[in-house]
């Protein structure tokens, strides 16, 4: 199945329509919205999209089109993060079974791609990352980080995790706190192990 410009448009329109109105468009809504000239042409493309797994429909049910990729993600809360211990390793098993709790978060906040999970911060050891006791960090599994990305870094000598921006420099690694008033930490590249990238930080104050 090769990509088709009109199908992309239809897919985009379905998303737009749902965001705007809160329910799915009909075949004829799509017809008007995408400047298509025949209901059966829309039907044809919808069938293709359904076969591709991009949408789901219930036969004969009006307005039952649903995008398979959704607006809200379920993020598993997999444990805690504190200075003294490495963050939990995520594999298929922990990811699906060991979740204490599930956080429902919009893709506005966490983006749409990649396996992500959440950790609750224990203690105040990450104040220099502007992260407080009780905050929740949303992580993406990763073994490396690009320059400037905020990552969870395991410092082997210190036996500590820390959340810092990572920069490669000649002969050393610079770990920069989010708090611009604080000084960076320098260490050798053999001393660090990236355990994940920080995607977002969530702090709830009302309860």
């Amino acid at each position: 199945m090769r990509k088709s410009e009109i199908r992309e448009r239809i897919l985009e329109y379905i998303k737009y329509f749902f965001d705007e109105r809160g329910y799915a468009p009909t075949v004829r809504d799509i017809l008007k919205g995408c400047n298509v000239s025949s209901t059966s042409l829309v039907q044809y493309h919808l069938n293709v999209l359904e076969k591709e797994g991009q949408i789901r429909r219930d036969p004969e049910v009006f307005r039952s089109i649903q995008l398979v990729e959704r607006n809200v993600r379920e993020v598993p809360l997999l444990g805690t993060i504190s200075a003294g211990e490495p963050i939990p390793v995520v594999d298929a098993d922990t990811w699906s079974n060991r979740a204490e709790e599930t956080l429902r978060v919009t893709t506005d906040i966490v983006g749409g791609k990649g396996d992500i999970y959440a950790l609750k911060v224990k203690g105040t050891s990450m104040l220099d990352a502007l992260i407080n006791d009780g905050d929740v960090v949303i992580m993406e599994a990763a073994q490396t980080a690009e320059d400037g990305e905020m990552a969870a870094v395991w410092l082997k000598n210190e036996q500590e995790v820390t959340l810092k921006k990572v920069y490669r420099e000649p002969g050393r690694i610079r770990l920069q706190p989010a708090n611009s008033e604080m000084k960076p930490l320098y260490t050798g590249s053999e001393n660090i192990e990236v355990q994940g990238k920080v995607v977002a930080v969530l702090r709830r104050l009302d309860r």
Copy 2:
């Protein structure tokens, strides 16, 4: 309008149906699902629910019922917050019309009640509240704060807003930074003006 057992059931069924299927039920779905015996009875109760503001419908559009109380809230981003200027005053007008942008956030994070709005933080003046340049704070309109609540406080003498936990003490007010390593600020109660309560802090690091 007094509460009606059947309307409660209908409301619950709409939620159940939507969670289950991803789209709203028709009048006749509700009829079957709630053991009601007439479409016009369903219609009658739907009209009441709509008048009560519990649901929203588009006339003549199939499956357009939506629960007004949602899983996702639209939070208007009303402006910026920085040390040097008071935060924008919210009234019905600003709330509905002046939003630069709308943030979609789950009720998991911001709770379900009260008028809330979002402000983008400009500058690093709120580092002591563990809030960085570019973070988004979600606020609830309020003129007062209970002891221990995080609030946006306007300091009259200093001509500054600051985000602190507020504690009333004999003859003075203690303003406690979120960062437990920092010292509190003391001031007279006549010097402060609570402009809102902080409901949540949002930080996005991926982009």
